[in-house]
């Protein structure tokens, strides 16, 4: 029996012909798993951008109560509330799909990965709709 195995060389070879990281976002010809992959990256980037935006907004607290009250007025305007709905939707998609990726990525329910994605995205849509109704109703 052989006891050693050489490390396989990288399959994609050199730079030539490779799609590159921009290929992550190319939806042409992608199936459901590929679209889930794109969606997870887009929402992930969105959430990272939101994190920095959140820190910028929090820094307004240092400018005193007037500046903060001014911001709260803007935050309650419909366009800003729409951004809240977008944030909630991104969080739901990324978080729920992350559960699927974690489970499938460790070999659990791998054969059900497609059904799981559909089910989790239905949950995400329902919660996002419920959240949007609550956000815009001002409760």
């Amino acid at each position: 029996m052989a006891t050693t195995v050489d490390r396989p060389r990288p399959a994609a070879g050199g730079e030539e012909g490779r799609r590159g990281a921009t290929g992550w976002f190319d939806p042409r010809g992608r199936r459901m798993g590929g679209l889930a992959f794109i969606l997870n990256r887009l929402t992930g980037i969105g959430l990272v951008l939101y994190l920095y935006l959140h820190l910028v907004i929090l820094s307004m607290l240092a400018r005193g109560p007037e500046a903060w009250d001014q911001f709260v007025d803007i935050a309650l305007s419909p366009p800003f509330l729409a951004l809240d709905v977008l944030l909630l939707t991104g969080l739901l998609i990324h978080g729920l799909n992350g559960i699927r990726v974690g489970l499938v990525g460790l070999g659990f329910v791998a054969s059900r990965q497609r059904a799981m994605f559909i089910a989790l995205m239905v949950v995400a849509a329902l919660v996002a709709i419920a959240g949007a109704l609550r956000i815009f109703s001002g409760e």
Binding site: V5, A12, A21, G29, G34, L106
Partner: protein
């Protein structure tokens, strides 16, 4: 460039990505081809080469999805051109496989792909499974080969192989899992240890494109997840002092 459509045929436009050695950048050439209801993309490409442009480079052999040589992207999706029908499309875009160096037009260099498989010493005959049913006269036994036809389609479809030049790719990991499942004289431990690596099984981001695109039912994504599960189990056992490697 146009070829006349005969009775029962219509004309479809093929946009073929061209690149020859020395070209600074690839470009599309358009060809109008007569196609019938059952025409395949490969038949159309062969007709283009025969009737319109003999310099069009493509690779094919069996015409029935066994040899794996005619893998390419048709309208952005990987497939074997020999079994990809033109259907009712009026325009078809044909490009070489991605993530492998282009040799000429639709032909890519497969060396990097084979280099990934070679060290695994994968046996090609699947001895654990027999094909059911009575044998025809004169046939002593069927030989059940492994499913992978080494077309490179999984590598082209994989978004991670497109951005990480160190990733060994879906086919190599699927082949490794076959060695683990059915060693046939190989020792699976070293193979598992190679795959339990951040440039092997753990580099996959679960896009599942490799399995969706595979024309031969190999299901590399499932194999990658099996490798991960086994590797994670072995790591957990080591962590809790229960011994055992992969």
């Amino acid at each position: 460039m146009t070829a006349p459509a005969s009775e029962g045929h219509r004309t479809a436009r093929f946009r073929v990505l061209r690149r020859k050695a020395g070209d600074a950048a690839p470009h599309f050439d358009d060809f109008d081809v007569a196609v019938g209801p059952d025409s395949t993309v490969l038949e159309a490409l062969v007709a283009i080469r025969r009737d319109q442009d003999p310099s069009l480079t493509l690779r094919h052999s069996c015409f029935h999805a066994s040899c794996g040589t005619c893998g390419m992207r048709v309208d952005g999706q990987e497939g074997l051109a020999c079994v990809t029908k033109v259907g009712d499309a009026s325009e078809v875009t044909v490009e070489p496989l991605a993530n492998l160096p282009v040799v000429s037009d639709l032909v890519v260099a497969m060396d990097p792909f084979y280099d990934g498989l070679e060290p695994l010493g994968r046996p090609l005959v699947r001895s654990s499974e027999n094909i059911p049913g009575a044998l025809p006269d004169g046939v002593e036994a069927y030989t059940r080969y492994e499913d992978c036809i080494e077309c490179g389609i999984c590598l082209s479809a994989c978004p991670i192989a497109g951005s990480d030049p160190l990733y060994v790719g879906p086919a190599a990991i699927a082949a490794a899992w076959r060695v683990v499942e059915e060693p046939r004289g190989r020792e699976p431990g070293p193979v598992m240890r190679l795959m339990d690596d951040d440039q092997a099984a753990w580099r996959c981001h679960v896009a599942w494109e490799c399995s969706e695109a595979c024309p031969s039912g190999v299901d590399p994504a499932r194999a990658i997840m099996q490798v991960r599960r086994k590797a994670a189990g072995a790591r957990a056992r080591r962590l809790f002092g229960m011994g055992g490697r992969s």
